[in-house]
């Protein structure tokens, strides 16, 4: 951040020597220790650190799984079962990796919706936001490729359905699909290239994450009030304040992660993937991994292949346009009463789309066991329409029409007003044994 007064001084002979040649300790100190961070960040802002941790978990567990996994159509399924049964701690590594993917997506969705709620995509953070969308697309690709590798029924048929999206492209679609497969259907060639790319993409993600963090460190963090940092009174050093806060959030997150690994490892998977892939039998009901379900519902809502595929990709792409669709200059939803309601409605819509994506395409909507008198097709079309209306109509219009609430003058003033003025912290420091 431009107003940061960095005070790194190399202390011993080696760090002095290194600092004039490769100032990497200085860089680390300035960006991860002294980095001035708004003092009002809440726990929703901890997910960036959690995501970094998850990327490391996935890369480490993935690299060791690759030491035992065999990417071949006749061996892949059995090699995964061998990992589960025979490899020392193989079950732990695989459950860590498969549940890790789900936890990664839980964290990334919270991270994205946090950015949406607090307006983190608005100027001057548009590039930061776009890099985030790129990371999200890479994550989806990596997750999809990885899900193919166990070569179970869902792996095979999920890969078939998703690669067939490209066959919707006019004229060249079928050739592109065969090029992706390396065959006339999903085949051994497909499995091998998917493995190669699944191994590659996480490192590409890591690269884009570096750019994402770089782009974050130019304007600095957004914050729950969505107002700019005005001076040193508004910030605290990243270390120890946010290293500690992030670490605590990470511990809680890891506890939930551990619950899935140790007590419910298949909760977020599909039982059909424990059936070896069979190219002559399509499972009665193909569902993608849970994190793609809302988009899958959008795809199925349209009875036209090409339009369905276009809508599905647009549903993701529209997030990249947010910085320009949102016409309001107030960032945080805290001060935008109408936007805040639209935000929660969108959450419900995305959730319902996810439920629709989980269900068979025909019949009436099943709402947690209760059959509602509304057809799934109609509901998914209505929700898809609303989804796009939300982004393309409501967000631009509401930004112009809405009267925002008064925005505080500065982060420091808002924080002090919340804690009842400046006397309290001072009193607490004077006599920490009594409650103030």
């Amino acid at each position: 951040m431009s107003h940061g007064n960095y005070t790194y001084k190399p202390t011993n002979a080696f760090t002095k020597w290194l600092d004039t040649r490769l100032p990497i300790i200085r860089l680390m100190d300035e960006s991860m220790m002294q980095f001035p961070t708004p003092k009002n960040l809440n726990y929703w802002f901890a997910f960036g650190a959690i995501l970094t941790f998850m990327l490391v978990v996935q890369i480490i567990s993935g690299v060791v799984l690759a030491m035992h996994y065999v990417p071949h159509e006749t061996l892949a399924f059995n090699s995964v079962e061998r990992i589960m049964r025979d490899v020392n701690y193989g079950w732990l590594l695989r459950y860590m990796h498969s549940n890790g993917a789900s936890m990664f997506f839980i964290a990334v969705y919270i991270h994205i919706f946090r950015g949406y709620y607090y307006g983190s995509y608005k100027a001057p953070r548009e590039v930061l936001w776009l890099l985030g969308i790129v990371i999200y697309l890479l994550l989806m690709a990596t997750g999809f490729l990885g899900y193919t590798l166990p070569w179970g029924q869902m792996s095979f048929w999920g890969a078939t359905v998703i690669t067939n999206f490209f066959s919707a492209i006019p004229v060249v679609g079928p050739s592109i699909t065969e090029w992706l497969w390396g065959s006339f259907a999903v085949d051994n060639a497909t499995l091998q290239r998917f493995f190669s790319l699944h191994y590659l993409l996480p490192f590409v993600i890591a690269g884009v994450v570096v750019l994402h963090i770089w782009a974050l460190h130019v304007p600095g963090n957004n914050n729950p009030l969505g107002i700019d940092v005005k001076g040193p009174a508004d910030t605290v050093a990243f270390h120890p304040y946010y290293t500690t806060k992030d670490l605590f959030a990470l511990v809680v997150f890891t506890m939930i992660f551990s619950y899935f690994i140790f007590f419910n490892p298949n909760a977020m998977g599909h039982t059909d993937n424990y059936i070896p892939a069979n190219r002559l039998v399509t499972p009665p009901h193909i569902v993608p991994e849970w994190y793609y379900l809302p988009f899958y519902a959008i795809l199925r809502s349209v009875p036209d292949k090409l339009i369905g595929v276009i809508l599905m990709f647009s549903a993701i792409f529209v997030w990249a346009l947010l910085p320009w669709l949102d016409t309001s200059r107030v960032r945080s939803a805290k001060f935008r009463p109408i936007f805040r309601q639209l935000f929660y409605i969108l959450l419900v819509v995305v959730w319902l789309l996810g439920m629709l994506g989980q269900q068979t395409p025909d019949g009436n909507f099943d709402f947690y066991g209760a059959e509602l008198p509304i057809s799934k097709l109609f509901l998914s079309q209505f929700l898809t329409l609303y989804y796009f209306v939300h982004f393309l109509v409501l967000i631009p219009v509401v930004g112009l029409m809405e009267t925002p609430l008064p925005v505080p003058e500065s982060i420091a003033k808002a924080v002090l007003a919340k804690t009842g003025g400046s006397t309290k912290p001072a009193a607490a420091v004077r006599s920490p044994e009594t409650r103030v």
Binding site: N164, W179, G182, F184, T282, K305
Partner: protein, 186 residues
């Protein structure tokens, strides 16, 4: 060198810049091609283009699924009623209009690539859908007894693979016309 007046500022060096960048661009593009083309089906995959199948054991009304080019293929011995319903389907109702006689060599035998033209699932033999043909379980496409799309998201009819009857009861799938070989490989 003789310069005309309007390009008096163009030097020999400018020409070399343009020519060498153009050559570099073409060369880079050509170097890219092997990395792209390696992903297309390999020679051994292309070699799996013909499968012979004995039709004798199939009874009328039965559907058999076999594998050709790693894809499932339906061989359906149609009953006279199924043939009639396929032939009598009004063209105006078809999403991808094609007469039944253009989709079969012998009316009794319907041979189709069994991948739904929507997103590649195998339409179900058990659930025949609203038109007596097939119902795709994934996204609900209905096919008739000629394998033509009648309802649902699939854009096209089930494809008819190239085939030839070797005898009355033997069929060679993938027979004609031959897919282009790969002459560039010598």
């Amino acid at each position: 060198m003789a310069h005309s007046t309007d390009n008096a500022n163009v030097t020999r060096r400018d020409f070399l810049y343009v020519a060498s960048s153009a050559a570099t661009a073409v060369g880079a593009t050509m170097a890219l091609w092997p990395f792209i083309h390696q992903m297309n089906p390999a020679a051994d995959t292309l070699a799996l283009k013909e499968v012979e199948f004995d039709l004798a054991p199939i009874v009328p009304g039965q559907i058999v699924t076999i594998e050709w080019q790693k894809k499932p293929v339906f061989i359906r011995r149609r009953t006279p009623e199924e043939v009639r319903s396929a032939e009598e389907a009004p063209m105006g109702e078809l999403k991808d209009p094609q007469a039944d006689k253009d989709r079969v060599q012998k009316p009794e035998w319907l041979i189709l690539v069994a991948t739904c033209t929507h997103l590649g699932c195998i339409p179900s033999n058990l659930f025949k859908g609203d038109f007596g043909g097939w119902l795709c379980p994934c996204h609900g496409s209905h096919y008739d007894t000629s394998g033509r799309i009648r309802k649902g998201p699939a854009p096209n009819n089930l494809a008819v693979p190239p085939y030839a009857f070797l005898t009355d009861t033997k069929v060679l799938i993938g027979a004609e016309p031959k897919p282009a070989a790969t002459p560039d490989r010598g």
